[in-house]
């Protein structure tokens, strides 16, 4: 594994770890949400009711999607960098 391959591997791994951390911090929801329910007080009746509020919640679906893209991109780059080094060695010999 050359230095470029190592960087590619580390970058891919860092992206995957980061998106999983974001997913955990966001509350480990399965699906990404763009709206959440918030509770509001009705002072007249002393009850609570709910309302939709625009809020982005990072879900597992988005986490897996970005992880998959990261794996695919890293794999492609890994082989591209490997081929270049191999070709250079062949020319030198």
């Amino acid at each position: 594994m050359n230095i470029k391959q190592k960087i590619t591997f580390a970058a891919g791994l860092a992206i995957i770890v980061t998106v999983f951390i974001i997913w955990i911090v966001n509350g480990t929801y399965v699906f990404t949400q763009t709206q959440v329910l918030i509770e509001k007080q009705d002072p007249l009746f002393g009850t609570t009711y709910q309302e939709w509020q625009n809020k982005f919640i990072w879900g597992l679906d988005l986490t897996l999607f970005i992880s998959a893209i990261s794996i695919i991109a890293s794999t492609i780059l890994f082989f591209i960098f490997k081929d270049k080094r191999k070709n250079r060695n062949e020319i030198n010999s």
């Binding site: 399965v30 699906f31 990404t32 949400q33 763009t34 709206q35 959440v36 329910l37 009705d42 007249l44 009746f45 009850t47 609570t48 009711y49 709910q50 939709w52």
Partner: protein, 212 residues
Amino acid sequence: MKLILKTSILIFTCFITALPQGFDVKAKGVQTFSFKDDKGRNQASFHSITPFDEVDGLTSEISGQVSFDVKDVKNTLKGEISLPTASLKTGITMRDKDLKDPKWLDAEKYPVISFKIVKVTDVQILAPNKLKVKVTGDFNLHGVNNEIPVEVTMTYLDESAATEAREPGDLLGVTANFSITLSSYNVQNMILGKRVSDNITIGTNIVGTNKF
């Protein structure tokens, strides 16, 4: 001895039936309340929880009426509340589409979800203007009608400066929570019991006015 026992039972029965079964408010006679609300305050929600996923849904498009004699809610309460199936929102656009799909609630074929009061089984007075009422009613979902018991809390507010700010007329606040099983409404789906629970908790929080 038997005579004393019979008399006691008779007195007790008379005492129970003579107890107030309604509100102690300014209003008198039969009142009709409409729950049509253009501001979107009235709402019905559902909650599903499984180990894999949690789904919350909400609609503010409630309509319907209830009427009752203020002093005798137990024997006079009647009415129906409904909502359009297509108005339910879950916070995820794709899931909202799935919900209306024929595999789930089939909003095109069954456009309305409703609850019609059949009878009142018990009235408990929490305050002069607040009652806890046990109601049995027909819950209609996905074209299937099932009679279910629902515990309802009704709060009656006479018209005042505070109520005027919300809506004209006397106001009736109604909250209720109950559960249904989707499979008993012919909602059959492979995901049922996995991503979506068969047991769904439903809640309503609505305010109606008698001036509409």
